[in-house]
């Protein structure tokens, strides 16, 4: 009951014209940075952070967190329309979102994305409101072995989702190789940089994605004679309502993605791994799983719900433990300290007004954000009516700007083009790109977690089965890893028995 009282108090704090105005400004800016590939939530928040130094902490966090929500919503837009993820967590949205757009169903796909995002966010905020202390304690249980187990589960949920399991594994391995470039945290040594100083920071995930998906896609379309099947996109506000009518039947996928999202946000796995895991798990367990990748609404809902859910949940460990659950949360954490607030276990006790103001704003801003982005659906769907020969050069330029702005270096554009060609070749050879991207994002972190666990256990693998948390996750991961083999063996056995 006390939580509810606090929440209402939070709403009272938020309901001022000034705060509502800040919320709208933040959401609008967030949508803008979310749409542009390369810019993204963390950069958007970091650039605007100095603006907030003179503001009240509560108004400041409302505005900055709204940038975050806006970018979480809008990251899906370019994924669906052009196969270019605006944000790293919307990579998985391209898998089904882009085929939908090609079939002229971009409006449906975008509506599903935004609604899924909203459901994920709502679930996480409810969790934060009522279970914050419990959830914070759960996050503390995660040490190196547990983190490795989660990453392993994410990788394994992708094995067997492609047509060819071996090609999936090869794509994963290629990604691991790319992830190893740069400085190794454990030994402090440089790896695979070949003496180039530009390679020090490693291969930036965003550049890989922009190249593989954006440029690669354009190359494929060009070969197919500049055809782009988006022209029949409906520009009709009714599409929102019609899509909503279809959504309740996917309740199981939504629930799974909500759970995955809030879990990955609380134990810092981040929105990106949440979206991949959401997609992988939905594909595994859904009845339409085999149709994923050809334009299933469910395949858009699953990653977006998980990504936005984890984005919201990531604020909880930031406030309660002082560890950011995502890159944007890390920047917000810095902001908190500059405003004179000390994140950590005492924040909930000492700064009630701030904490509950923020939580109340999360409810409100996600509703406002949903309305805002839904109203843009017809507008964005209409972009697809522009002929491809005009839109393609624009996409290439936007891609190049995105890659450049990652760290203001021309070198990035060359890297992007190399990955564009690689993406084209892999697509032609029918290798799945998703596992490779996944390995580039998480390979490094999985390796670090594994080696930390090994150092701590003096090299004993027993550490991965040492408690009730890590053991089951590892077992589940291994089960998924060998599932293709197990299911084939099971089918054979059944056939022999039937005979």
């Amino acid at each position: 009951m006390e939580d509810l009282f606090n929440l209402f108090h939070g709403f009272a704090v938020i309901f001022s014209w000034y705060n509502l105005w800040m919320m709208a400004v933040g959401l609008f800016l967030g949508v803008v940075v979310g749409v542009l590939p390369g810019l993204g939530g963390p950069n958007g928040v970091a650039i605007l952070l100095p603006l907030t130094f003179t503001m009240q902490p509560t108004s400041a966090i409302v505005m900055l967190s709204c940038i975050y929500w806006g970018s979480l919503f809008a990251g899906a837009i370019t994924s669906v329309l052009f196969n270019i993820p605006g944000e790293s967590h919307s990579v998985a949205t391209t898998f089904d979102g882009y085929p939908l757009a090609q079939q002229g169903r971009a409006g449906e796909a975008l509506t599903a994305c935004f609604t899924g995002s909203f459901v994920g966010a709502l679930f996480s905020v409810l969790l934060i409101t009522f279970l914050a202390p419990l959830v914070a304690k759960f996050a503390l249980k995660f040490g190196p072995p547990e983190f490795f187990a989660v990453y392993l589960l994410t990788f394994c949920s992708f094995i067997g989702t492609g047509k060819d399991t071996w090609k999936t594994i090869i794509a994963l391995m290629l990604g691991f190789g790319l992830a190893a470039i740069g400085m190794d945290t454990i030994s402090g040594q440089l790896r695979l940089t070949f003496g180039f100083t530009q390679m020090l920071r490693g291969v930036d995930f965003l550049i890989v994605v922009i190249g593989l998906f954006g440029v690669g896609e354009i190359l494929v379309s060009m070969e197919e004679g500049l055809k782009f099947e988006g022209k029949s996109a409906k520009i009709n506000a009714k599409v929102v309502w019609e899509t909503w009518k279809k959504l309740p039947r996917y309740w199981a996928t939504l629930l799974r993605s909500c759970l995955i999202g809030s879990w990955m946000g609380i134990t810092p796995g981040g929105a990106t791994s949440a979206s991949f895991m959401g997609y992988g798990i939905a594909k595994r367990f859904s009845k339409n799983g085999d149709k994923f990748g050809t334009g299933e609404l469910e395949g858009v809902l699953a990653p977006e719900t998980a990504a936005h859910g984890s984005g919201c949940a990531a604020l909880l460990p930031m406030m309660a433990l002082g560890i950011p659950g995502s890159a944007t949360a890390a920047v917000l954490l810095g902001g908190l300290m500059i405003w004179g607030l000390q994140p950590g276990p005492l924040l909930f006790i000492e700064q009630k007004e701030f904490v509950w103001g923020l939580i109340a704003s999360m409810y409100l801003s996600n509703v406002v954000g949903l309305i805002m982005v839904l109203s843009t659906v017809p507008l964005f769907a209409a972009i697809l009516r522009i002929p491809f020969s005009i839109i393609a050069p624009v996409i290439i330029v936007v891609c190049a700007i995105g890659a450049f702005s990652v760290n203001m270096a021309m070198f990035n554009i060359w890297v992007m083009l190399v990955f564009g060609v690689l993406g084209y070749v892999l697509k032609k050879l029918d290798y799945p790109l998703a596992p490779m991207v996944l390995a580039v994002v998480l390979g490094d972190r999985a390796e670090i977690a594994f080696r930390q666990a090994m150092m701590g256990s003096q090299g004993s693998m027993g550490v991965f089965f040492s408690n009730w948390l890590v053991g089951p996750i590892i077992s589940l991961a291994l089960l998924m890893l060998f599932w293709p083999a197990i299911s084939t063996a099971w089918d054979k056995l059944r056939q022999t028995l039937a005979r």
Binding site: I47, F53, M183, G188, L190, G334, Q342, I401, G456
Partner: protein, 338 residues
């Protein structure tokens, strides 16, 4: 195109600043002043200690209008900060780029063989020094460093010390403690001090040697215990931070017979090929920054040692500090063979 995009970014920032500063106040005439926005290179990730310091200074500079052009922060934390350091080195003669420095300027060249030396850059000033504290989980029975290290000594290799990165300040301190106290820690590198702090609360490691700012939240919540500070004298801040302790209440490790001392510089550098006039401007600006109440509050909150050093004295300090790191790292076997 490169220029246009930069201009676009600056344009946005200029707008931001124009919106904030209604009246431009005159700054005292100096020989040189920035004519373009100044980029502050932070060779560390967003949200970390260096980043917070840079953003605090940015806030102070903006509030008191200590500079006519805007100041923007760029995080270049790749490769333990080598990315930002190399970028500054390669921006020869650019006075609109200021780098935040910490001990990575010595440790990276020693441990990786990267073509870099702090002498390549133009030193401006050191503005503070960071302390290091030995922390354990508050639920353990160890109240003094002696008790704790005796337990570590009795079970070599089983106690886990967490810290930021590898072959850097945290591991250097761990090896120094091992040597003096005869202990054998298993050192586990994490990506940041914040991570090491939370891992200590979750009991995934037994201790860490975090900076005050990295562990203050957990200390105040009574989740971690401060055993001793790696310094020759206690910290100067005697305002209560937890229910019954202030920073000054933490004994030095030396008091308990473990004579390990380590401080980390927080300083600013300009790229190579910049002139004395450029240094003079930033020095003047930083002097005004450290005189503000906001900066004093920041120092107190993060228990930083106030230490403003510039000019020849700063260079002398850098030489001494580098030799100190070299010695420690060679003894620990962290130095890459040339």
């Amino acid at each position: 195109m490169k220029r246009q995009i930069r201009k676009l970014g600056y344009g946005v920032l200029l707008l931001v600043v124009a919106a904030l500063s209604s009246v431009a106040t005159a700054t005292p005439a100096a020989a040189w002043e920035p004519t373009r926005p100044v980029e502050v290179i932070v060779p560390a990730g967003a949200g970390g200690a260096s980043d917070q310091m840079a953003r605090t200074i940015q806030g102070i500079v903006m509030k008191y209008k200590l500079m006519k052009t805007p100041m923007m922060i760029l995080n270049m934390g790749g490769a333990n900060g080598a990315e930002g350091i190399i970028d500054t080195k390669e921006s020869k003669g650019n006075p609109h780029k200021l780098m935040v420095a910490f001990s990575a300027i010595y440790t990276i060249p020693i441990s990786t063989n990267l073509p870099f030396n702090w002498r390549d850059l133009n030193p401006v000033a050191m503005i503070a020094m960071d302390e290091f504290i030995l922390w354990v989980n508050a639920e353990t029975k160890y109240k003094t460093p002696k008790e704790y290290l005796a337990a570590v000594k009795a079970a070599p290799g089983t106690f886990k010390m967490g810290g930021t990165g590898s072959k850097r300040e945290d591991q250097i301190i761990t090896v120094a403690v091992d040597k003096i106290a005869g202990t054998k820690f298993t050192y586990i590198p994490y990506k940041s001090g914040g991570e090491a702090s939370v891992q200590l609360v979750g009991k995934h490691i037994d201790s860490n040697v975090n900076n005050p700012s990295e562990s203050i939240a957990q200390w105040r919540a009574d989740q971690v215990r401060a055993l001793c500070v790696f310094s020759d004298k206690r910290m100067g801040f005697d305002k209560k931070v937890t229910k019954d302790q202030s920073w000054a209440d933490i004994p030095t490790c030396k008091e308990d017979g473990i004579d390990v001392q380590y401080h980390m510089l927080r300083a600013f550098f300009l790229p190579p090929g910049t002139s004395a006039d450029h240094v003079a401007f930033y020095n003047d600006m930083l002097k005004k920054v450290v005189a503000t109440q906001e900066w004093k509050d920041y120092l107190e909150k993060n228990a930083l040692k106030d230490n403003y050093v510039t000019g020849a004295e700063f260079v002398k300090f850098l030489e001494k500090d580098e030799a100190f790191h070299k010695k420690l790292m060679q003894e620990a076997g962290f130095a890459e063979k040339k």
